[in-house]
């Protein structure tokens, strides 16, 4: 008998694969692979994609990491030195051993790789449009930067002899002149025009409207030069409560006749409303709360009503409305009871129960920074010039940025303010509703993602709110304790090598990094790995929903959803 011949006795042999059995039908919970938001990114006022940055750093790709930072932050050098790094405070690694050195890495990356961001995006519609930024402070530069990245032609008008950003105190703070200068230079280098020593006439409305389609008035300019500019048409009827009080005190005539909408913190708004009443206006106070929430000021409320101030509870203004090129009042959400502030941040789809317009001749905003009301920048559209003022304007503090006690917070806040202004302005020029800005909110702490905005389909960032990866969502079995690396001297910062090691400490919260853990453990071979990207893919025909991938994913990149 030849060895080749079959020696097996006749028997049944199964040759059909079992794969046609759709065992996915057994499932009652569905694992979903979707990137989730890292707490550091949510906390970053600029919404930087920190896990992505860390991933690049951990491979020594510092230049690429710099580019990734600059997608959201025009000033990595400044931030690397003075940012108050809220990211590190919430870093999940902090619960495990010590937070990742996010800020020190930002600085290192900047030192190792400064050269501008290339690739100015030419957007079809507005690319030919010209925008002026009055005032070259941090917010002005930030706004200019993002507008330029959106394809606009941007000119900064600076009445002074140099950009006022250089007035920031560099003595006695960590803000080193060298990094300030190089950050500013790399912002201007992307192709932003700069005009210094502009005459007052140059920023007159009538002048601007000849050359520009839109203007952003930086916070530093709002209370000074912009006054000039606003001498233009009679469209400006939005006031700061402080300013109103001051002008009434000084006996300046104010055009506050007819209905005047007052909003802001309830106490301040009431006070201002009384003053308005006293000079003959008809104040309407818009309060996002309900009398129950305001028990502590019940007497004041009664008093105000008695004196003819009308009170509208449960009204949360979100934008100035405009008719025929004039401010016509405030657009408001009807806020549901409770949790108003949150509803406000989340935007219109949340707990509001509808909206209405409060018509008014003038609008007064009382201490908006205290209320957290994220007021839409006033948009005045007369003769086609779009004017965007800083968010939460007019803020008395804005002007004194450099003198503020917490320089770090103020500077970073202005960076994000500039970003928001740029996005608002673009929406406005493209005649899109302002609410769209909420779709690029990075979590719920107020940061916006420019990258998501630019991509125009923000799914990368648009994660369900509250879907931030918490320490409990991670699987600590996959991480080893490793203490934070301390630079040998704080001035020099981390070395390259230390930078790589520091970045490797990042857990990559919520960001699938193709570690293949889920793939290895799936008992039903329902997860495959895309050969090119290493990205896992779930086969729902066979996934029985055991939830092992969800439990084991080291970084919480898989969620379970009831079928």
């Amino acid at each position: 008998m030849s060895a080749k011949e079959s020696i097996a006795p006749p028997m049944a042999a199964a040759k059909m694969p079992a794969s046609p059995n759709k065992t996915g039908a057994w499932r009652f919970e569905r694992p979903i692979l979707e990137d989730r938001l890292a707490p550091c990114s949510e906390a970053c006022p600029l919404g930087e994609n920190i896990p992505a940055i860390m991933s690049l750093n951990s491979r020594g790709a510092f230049k690429e990491a710099y580019g990734e930072i600059r997608k959201e932050n025009p000033f990595p050098g400044i931030c690397g030195k003075i940012c108050f790094h809220p990211c590190e405070r919430v870093c999940n690694r902090g619960r495990f051993d010590e937070p990742v050195s996010i800020q020190e890495l930002e600085f290192l990356v900047t030192v190792l790789s400064r050269d501008g961001v290339s690739g100015i995006e030419e957007r079809h519609g507005p690319s030919l449009q010209r925008v002026a930024v009055i005032g070259g402070d941090i917010a002005g530069l930030s706004c200019a930067y993002f507008l330029r990245l959106l394809g606009y032609t941007v000119t900064i008008l600076e009445p002074g002899a140099r950009l006022r950003v250089f007035d920031l105190p560099t003595k006695g703070s960590d803000l080193n002149t060298k990094y300030l200068e190089s950050d500013v230079k790399s912002v201007l280098d992307i192709g932003i025009d700069l005009r210094i020593r502009t005459t007052p006439e140059a920023i007159y409305y009538h002048q601007l409207v000849k050359e520009f389609q839109a203007v952003y008035v930086s916070p530093g300019a709002v209370d000074s030069e912009a006054r000039e500019f606003l001498k233009g048409p009679d469209v400006y009827s939005v006031y700061n409560a402080i300013e109103v009080e001051r002008m009434i005190r000084d006996g300046n005539p104010l055009p506050l006749r007819g209905k005047v909408a007052v909003t802001g913190s309830a106490r301040e708004a009431l006070k201002t409303a009384m003053s308005v009443k006293a000079i003959g206006g008809e104040p309407v106070v818009l309060v996002p709360f309900f009398p129950d929430d305001l028990e502590h000021m019940a007497e004041d409320l009664e008093d105000a009503e008695r004196k003819g101030v009308s009170l509208k509870f449960g009204s949360a203004p979100f934008a100035l409305s405009e008719r025929d090129g004039r401010i016509s009042g405030l657009a408001c959400f009807k806020a549901g009871k409770g949790r108003f502030l949150e509803a406000k941040r989340r935007g219109p789809e949340s707990e509001q129960t509808g909206s209405f317009e409060q018509r008014a001749e003038a609008v007064i905003i009382a201490s908006p920074e205290k209320t957290g009301v994220n007021l839409m920048p006033p948009i005045l559209q007369e003769t086609g010039l779009v004017v965007v003022f800083p968010d939460r304007f007019p803020r008395a503090r804005s002007r004194k940025l450099g003198k503020e006690k917490d320089l770090s917070r103020a500077v970073v806040r202005h960076m994000s303010e500039g970003k928001q202004a740029a996005l608002s302005l673009d929406l406005c020029l493209r005649k899109r509703p302002f609410e769209e800005i909420y779709s690029v909110a990075v979590g719920r702490l107020g940061a916006l993602s420019f990258e998501a905005y630019k991509m125009n389909h923000p799914h990368r960032y648009q994660r369900p709110l509250g879907n931030v990866v918490r320490a409990a969502d991670l699987n600590p079995a996959y991480f080893k304790k490793a203490p934070r690396i301390k630079p040998s001297s704080p001035e020099n910062g981390l070395t390259r090598r230390q930078g790589v090691l520091s970045a490797r400490r990042c857990f990559q919260c919520g960001r699938c990094n193709s570690c293949q853990t889920c793939y290895q453990y799936c008992p039903d071979l329902a997860i495959s790995v895309e050969p090119e990207t290493g990205r896992p893919e779930i086969d729902y025909d066979h996934c029985k929903g055991c939830g092992i991938c969800f439990k084991e994913c080291p970084r919480g990149a898989i969620s379970l959803q009831r079928e």
Binding site: A12, R27, P523, G545, C546, G547, I548
Partner: protein
């Protein structure tokens, strides 16, 4: 976890294994490492049932169902058959549960090991006769509930030390492994593949259905078993040379026990008794490993 390169999978999806089945995980890894040039022999048990019922199969390599308790002898016969056909390079894998290994398969296993048959014997250990409805086996750990060791009279004998029995046969290679450490498991299978003679691999495969825990916990339990050392990982070369493969600092066994329904109702005294047993076995192993290091250095 470091990358394990993606190799060809030799198992089809669509098995009728319970969600979260540990043995499926083990089977998949073992086959993937052994590769296409493999034939499997299995005895009755979950391992044979999840393999598919005629005319379906989950295996891309030949898969032979033999009678209960005869995996080792059948595999040895198959290997001999292949040798006669000149197909000497085929890996023959005997794939059997704890019941089919520790209890009823023991004599055929011992015979094949003693003859040093050139096969790889993998015992996937779910610590009871699962397929017939969770009856105790001599692989069931002390304190565990099964249908034949109900709450009123829980298992009171220690788990049989299979590795020691196999070591007594002085076979070339013995290893224990866990599905929760696929890299280690893969390495041990790869190593076994490169050795001639009888190779015995003992893999702990948590079973949500029989151990009474949520399906998503399989990997965690397979990890806790190893970390607590209730299922210690080690290798024995030539029946003498012990090498431990600890996967991290030793943890108390309590954490492992309390997360499983089968250990529900154990008293603190029971738990400390189990802990004692675990400690005792682990220090025995440590000693054996230390002695092996000395005599080989």
């Amino acid at each position: 976890m470091a990358k394990v390169r993606v190799k060809e999978e030799l198992v089809y999806p669509g098995s009728f294994a319970c969600p979260g089945c540990g043995l499926m995980m083990a089977f998949r890894h073992v086959l993937r490492v052994l590769g296409r040039n493999t034939a499997v022999v299995t005895t009755a048990g979950c391992g044979s049932v999840v393999a598919g019922s005629y005319p379906q199969t989950i295996s891309k390599v030949p898969f032979f169902h033999c009678s209960f308790g005869t995996a080792a002898s059948t595999a040895a016969g198959l290997k001999a058959g292949y040798d006669m056909m000149g197909k000497r390079s085929i890996n023959v894998l005997a794939w059997a549960g704890d019941g089919g290994t520790f209890d009823i398969g023991l004599q055929s296993l011992s015979g094949a090991a003693e003859r040093n048959e050139d096969i790889i014997y993998v015992c996937y250990d779910n610590e009871a006769y699962m397929n017939t409805g969770v009856q105790r086996s001599s692989g069931t750990p002390m304190g565990a509930w099964t249908t034949t060791t109900p709450r009123e009279s829980l298992e009171d004998r220690p788990k049989k030390k299979m590795a020691a029995i196999m070591a007594a046969h002085e076979i070339p290679y013995i290893a224990t492994a866990s599905v929760s450490y696929p890299e280690d498991l893969d390495r041990k299978i790869r190593k076994a593949k490169g050795i001639k003679g009888f190779r015995f691999i003992h893999i702990i495969v948590p079973c949500p259905t029989g151990w009474l825990y949520p399906a998503s916990e399989t990997v965690r339990l397979g990890r806790e078993a190893v970390l607590s050392r209730i299922f210690p990982l080690f290798e024995i070369m030539a029946g003498k040379k012990y090498r431990l493969s600890p996967m991290g600092a030793k943890t108390p066994v309590r954490e492992y026990l309390v997360s499983q329904g089968r250990f529900k109702g154990l008293s603190e005294k029971d738990i400390s008794l189990i802990q004692e047993k675990v400690d005792e076995y682990w220090s025995e192993l440590e000693e054996l490993a230390a002695r092996s290091r000395e005599s080989h250095s």
